[in-house]
Symmetry: C2
Subunit: 359 residues, 2 copies
């Protein structure tokens, strides 16, 4: 028996237990298709999509692969209105708009709907092999409908408590997201502080506390990481940052450049870009907002204010306001196609495991 | 060849590549002797010792084991005087002293000397197999003398940059201390933020950047963790928290109780107890000081103010001011003797590696 055949690969109907993280802001049909065609599970993050574009892109994806696909949605709570906080925040941001001569300061707008009844209807129509949710789960009636249609459900836990909640809600697999992970923390039922647990500690504790297959995420970027995750009890791995350096990821050139220079840079968890904690490479806005967490409005409204600045600065070649999402293993990224990356991951993992076969 | 024989075990002259972390505040002769006798490397943290007690305790230790021993010293910089900060801090702490009716508020005192010429002289006289330093290295002349006498030198890195500095300074092995680790962060040449890297990311990057044996630390508490560390390139592991639940560790009963209830508790990195960042189980003082980092004076002076409070509260059965050092894997601790723990670790690691031998 080979290490890459197990209950998870069987249920997901994939060859290798390697999941490409949906990464809403860097997802592309090409990336998802390439990973699925290479034997992993390609994912498409749909939360930043216009609703009317979802179906056509999904259909395009189906033309590129006939393997299992994961569609991903955010399940955050809608933002609360807080006028005092909003005013403080807009005052703080004013200086950047002046600097870039952006005359009309945008308002805080809810640009990203959490998974709702329309999404549900569409999901059931698209009928992918897998759906994954970030920031918890939608309501139990939705879960029931999805399960009735035999679409597999995956969601992310950052604490043992969250993993137990997900298992009790009927998910088919749980992603244990370590502190190392790039992008948004999946934390939904613990405090953000409580959810900052390194994968070495989080993974085995979630494995022990639940009985569904656990997928390790955070800091895994090569075969060594996969082999280590297996030792700690994972049945599969989810890699995000590792795929960001692949040509198929839709990553701004300044983001890609930052990734390639990441060995000289620090990553940090910040609310500065969206209102929810997410790990990215330290840049100007991240630094500036470090001690101003309290005035940052709720997810996802912050994005509507930061994006015009990101565009304006990027035009001048500056990454100052770009969300440079990256995990702590970004310095180990390789610039290869996603197909090649999946092949490397399998080969490397097998080689490392073989080193110990005579133990 | 078995997994536990390698360059590190050879140079340290130990059977198993398992190092018991020195843990100055919980070190005991009994613990160090038991671990060394069980085939690992027992360590004695000497930084909180009165200088005149070091030699006699070391002699006692030698009567209990004739295996390799590691002596550990802190190499922090002496605290800077900052009257304004000190005043703010003492004002903040006043309320606790009133609450416990402690009439004379203690001063900020430097209770812990960094490794100095007297320590060096004594170390060369004691001539242990290994010396380890926390918070960097002593000056290069000291290193030279130690190396001339063939005492092996180990120190801790929390970033790749620090690991390179240590290697360039001539250490014989480097401890890669992940974000998960309990107790004091070893960070000495990077910012504390930069040094908060999960072991999954830190370990392989340090292995790649250096050529000395790397010892993994942080979140390792059982065979699964050891096997995972091996996959990521470690030649050995250092466990601290796992040994705190052993009867040989000198741990306050309230600390031991907190460890046994740690699955319900969060750990967090704080300066509240000593002035340097260290991970412990969240309690009253840790919580209270969360947003008051700026007024906390330099290591180690804070300890002289906190300790009387810790004693007074502990007398009433409260752990409010105790430094409850613990890593993020504390919930997986086992209440076994340290001899039994070493045996379990070896057995478990072998079993897990065997699972994959037919891959």
């Amino acid at each position: 028996m080979t290490w890459f055949k197990n209950t998870l690969t069987k249920s997901l109907n994939i060859k290798y237990p390697i999941i490409q993280a949906p990464m809403a802001s860097a997802a592309s049909i090409e990336l998802a298709a390439a990973v699925s065609n290479a034997g992993g599970l390609g994912s498409l993050g749909l939360s930043y999509y216009k609703f009317e574009d979802i179906l056509s892109d999904y259909k395009s994806l189906l033309r590129k692969t006939n393997h299992s696909i994961n569609l991903n949605f955010f399940t955050h709570k809608n933002p609360k209105k807080n006028d005092i906080q909003a005013k403080k925040y807009m005052n703080e941001m004013q200086k950047y708009f002046s600097e870039y001569n952006i005359p009309i300061i945008p308002n805080l707008i809810n640009t990203t709907e959490p998974f709702n009844s329309e999404h549900l209807e569409l999901l059931l129509k698209m009928n992918p092999k897998v759906v994954s949710f970030h920031f918890g789960l939608p309501n139990s009636n939705y879960i029931k409908s999805i399960k009735q249609q035999k679409i597999l459900i995956i969601s992310t836990a950052t604490t043992v408590k969250e993993a137990k909640i997900l298992e009790d809600s009927g998910v088919d697999a749980i992603i244990a997201q370590g502190f190392e992970a790039g992008g948004h923390r999946g934390t939904f039922a613990s405090s953000y502080n409580e959810g900052e647990i390194g994968l070495f500690s989080l993974l085995p504790q979630i494995v022990d506390a639940t009985s569904v297959p656990i997928i390790a995420a955070g800091g895994i970027t090569n075969g060594r990481g996969i082999a280590a995750a297996l030792m700690l009890g994972a049945k599969g791995v989810q890699l995000g940052t590792a795929f960001l350096s692949c040509p198929e990821a839709t990553v701004h050139p300044l983001w890609k450049k930052a990734l390639s220079e990441s060995s000289e840079k620090e990553t940090r968890i910040t609310k500065a870009f969206t209102g929810r904690p997410a790990r990215g490479i330290v840049n100007r806005l991240l630094n500036d907002m470090e001690n101003k967490k309290d005035i940052i409005p709720d997810f996802p409204t912050v994005g509507s204010v930061v994006k015009p600045l990101a565009h304006a600065a990027a035009k001048q070649g500056k990454n100052d306001f770009l969300s440079l999402w990256a995990g702590q293993s970004a310095p180990m990224n390789r610039n290869v196609t996603s197909k090649k990356l999946v092949e490397l991951l399998i080969k490397e993992t097998s080689s490392i495991l073989k080193l110990y076969k005579n133990t």
